[in-house]
Symmetry: D2
Subunit: 320 residues, 4 copies
């Protein structure tokens, strides 16, 4: 059995641990593994290399992807998919394992349809927005990275009695923002799912000020309330408080994976190889109800994951 | 409603976040909170102090417990329990919230029986060995601390081609050791639940050596295989390899809590106050199937939690 | 002897360690210490509080300043200075110790002139731009914070074969940028002291690309080359490479101080108290030639510190 | 010009950054570099491999040594040295660059004497005990690692009101212990250079107890006062306090190098290549008076470095 592993979502810490888990689990079943370089681009460009258990030594704690990744527009075209299918068949690939988020899922589904080669997708994304699974590889690391950054920012916020807007990733969804806000003890979480007005936010800040809170942290998902500097400027006018903005940016996508991100990667990778042994095709592997599960790729792809309203409410409730 | 909060298990990172969550959730319900100092000792010594939402400001990211803790032998005697019950009644305490592990659970159960005052216990322990719950406050931090230490140790293990035995906490149980071994990419996990002989271990090391592994990490729970230095010495004789030992010790009990430990603390603390609002007595709050649940203290106390055999097997399988 | 300690530069990690060192060194000499709250504002607002050795317990590893800080425009006026001098005299303050950078130095000099009260200034600044001293409290921590952030960013830069512009603090000077660039292995350092054109930078990137470098990190001081997003856009047009920008921002000003920042704080604080014992007035305490020294505040204030040209050159030389 | 680079002291964080600096500085001069594997063992076993600037890409932030290391008894014999000299000549090596501490220095001196090939040694050691230089590569990282561990330990020390003995590396010398004690705010430093009795230590602990200090940290160098568990037991009998012991062990030798350790590595590596360009033979490169200097290997080897008595005194003075 020949397995090709590809990391189109190479920017979630734990992807390397996931590659290692696939390669070594496959070896224990006597399967061969080929790594595909630069994400789906490598399928088109025929960039395969054999991966032995020794080749993935010492990578469990590295951020990024040793297979590299890329955004690949060509792969979204019929020609690109056709070429990828051709190359997979020429390499005698029996299964394709993709590690990534929504984009990886879509690509895997399509190349499978075109090539007839079954796929297994391991949920890896710092956004944690994949429907049907509670948690993805990399999310825990990104939350910790942002929380550690806010711990530092709070030092200066408290010392200078300022309000900070800290923008975390999340153009469409607020999963990261909610968890970061709760764990950092932020006063306010701004997420795309719950639009609020500048007046709402300034009222809450003024109320906290009247209770003696002299500094606050607002965790804002990218997709909430527009430009953070503009938001700060309007809120400053409304409240009279001194605002600062920090956009955390790409530090959230890299770094040494947390223990949990590595553990999920180990479990998901092993489960993906079990799916191959059992011939269970086109499944997404993720964590649900604290168990490693596999669900239909199609089901995940056509659904929308809901935020945890309780957690969202708790941010404000605990920030009194 | 008057709530007393006590931290007999003050050595799990996230306990302060849990205190904060109880105090502020209680405030949102109009309840008063008293902090008890030095664990159950403070109940006997009448060491209560009022905690307002502002008093727990800036503690979400502190290790240890701002209420302090202690081992209290007196509390295990009828006289001690009687005195504690007396003090709780004199303070008009309606509910006692304890944050800790098995010892805290036992104490809470007993003081409740003697005093008639209902209790809620929030599961907090780096050992993660509380029956009925999947995860406790502090466990994730301890796993990360040990994994980060092993990342450092592996640098020197690989450079000098040595075998390291790294002892992690766990006199009776191997939950911590298994998760640490899996996430650190350790070659072998030694846990009390699965006794192995020195010959077994040396055979595995020699087999890995023959596959080209020149350095290895053995994660050993305290309660497995006896003294680590003696173990190293015997394994060295059997394999001819160069061994080193590191006992991680108390660094596992402190430190800035991870995002996950803080999040669990927020959720558990809020849930504990909900139990009080609803009059649901003598429950243990923890995470199960990725949901915050409450279970009967008695049920937890009389059961034994099983290790995850799949994770345990995976350590060896991924260390080829 | 009554000493007042003030932290107008409260945003350099290690300031709390410096307060502790002053308070405890003073205690060993039998001196009294008053903390001034909110920087020079507290002098005007008469916000003094007594600090005993026990009051500074547990603060050595905290970022920010427990005395808080503020930008105080009023202090720059004759009225403000007059009021501050009045309050200092009313409190019978014999010496003022200020912990901070250039602004603190200026303020200390002025209040001393107006009040006749001698001052000692401890060099603390993440910018490390104080003339006459090699290193300030907080600089080492800020360098480490930025380098750790770039370690994370490089994961995604390498994986996606991108160029990152990482903006670090430094509106006027490039000390931080140079050290960060060298220690992070960045390919290019852009500093205010050495203006370069977009064409220069793009030529260097293209040359590195031709040598096989597929990703690069450019560390840019705030004051170099203007807006980082505009810079990225122009460089992208000139090179055809994929650019991303991260502005590190205020995380550089907070956080747990590094060992070195704490050590300098201990040494400087003790030295400042020695100056008081010896009656050596109006001196700046800092590190020079790896020794704790004191220099004339006036000399420092009227000089400009030079960057280390060798380090600057080394960034490019080692990034081949 | 052919340069061989060897890392007999491969257990100081920053050694890889030093290798990178040598290789790339050499390339800028048109020199060739060969890496020697496994320390001096590789000289005897003829384990050379060519290192190009691209080969040392991405290693600046890795602990350990990519060239590996070993303790090599054979190298201490005339036969071993003779064989090493032979191999160096057969490879047409013109200069040998060794990165390490006292043992590396001795070996470099001897192989140079036997072979006639000049050497340059870059001071790298977590012990920082090399005479003639103020600071070595790796020392700053080890201090930070130990201080971060003690920050965690203090959480539990304070919470449970205990005394902790934390043993850091240093069989002969107390440089690491002093810096760790000062930066961690430890109450007592025990170093080989200043023997004290158990009675002295217990008197100091009791005196601090009487001033209200309920928990303490004692930082003990390995070579001071013998076995830490025995020491704890005796001090516990003398004081009545509750003691715990943590032996930090090998975590101090690995880990991601701090910014400062990397910066020193860059500077030293570049300086070593400059020595080669200038034909300045048999020098040790290190930091002195905050400048990169080179001194006679023989001078360093025959001298003993003194501890900083002021720092040592300051530990106690600031721990009131």
């Amino acid at each position: 059995m020949n397995i090709a592993v590809v990391t189109p979502g190479g920017d979630a810490p734990g992807v390397n641990a996931a590659i290692r888990a696939v390669v070594r689990s496959a070896a224990s079943q006597g399967f061969e593994v080929f790594g595909v370089e630069r994400g789906y681009m490598g399928l088109i460009e025929n960039a395969f290399r054999k991966l032995s258990p020794r080749d993935v030594s010492g990578i469990i704690n590295l951020g990024g992807s040793v297979l590299k990744s890329s955004r690949c527009e060509l792969f979204k075209t019929p020609e690109g998919l056709e070429k990828a299918a051709e190359n997979l068949k020429a390499m005698n690939v029996d299964w394709l394992v993709a590690i990534g988020g929504d984009g990886s899922l879509k690509g895997a589904k399509e190349v499978s349809e075109v090539s007839g080669i079954p796929v297994a997708v391991m949920a890896a994304s710092i956004d944690n927005d994949i429907a049907g699974v509670d948690e993805t590889i990399g999310f825990d690391t990104a939350v910790n990275t942002a929380v550690e950054a806010i711990d530092k920012i709070r030092d200066t916020a408290v010392t200078f009695e300022r309000v900070f807007i800290v923008e975390v990733m999340g153009r469409q969804r607020g999963f990261l923002a909610i968890d970061v806000a709760l764990a950092s003890g932020a006063e306010i979480a701004l997420i795309p799912e719950h639009p609020v007005t500048h007046e709402d936010v300034s009222q809450r800040l003024l109320k906290m000020g009247s209770l003696g809170k002299k500094s606050s942290i607002i965790v804002k998902a990218e997709g909430a309330m527009g430009d953070p500097f503009e938001t700060a400027s309007r809120l400053s006018r409304l409240t009279g408080y001194d605002f600062r903005v920090t956009v955390l940016g790409h530090i959230q996508r890299g770094g040494v994976p947390s223990a949990r991100s590595r553990t999920l990667a180990c479990l998901f990778g092993n489960h993906a190889v079990r799916l191959i042994s059992e011939g269970k095709k086109n499944r997404l592997v993720g964590l649900r109800d604290n168990r490693v599960v596999d669900i239909s790729i199609l089901d995940s792809y056509t659904s929308v994951k809901k935020i945890d309203e309780n957690k969202y409410r708790l941010v404000s409730l605990l920030a009194v």
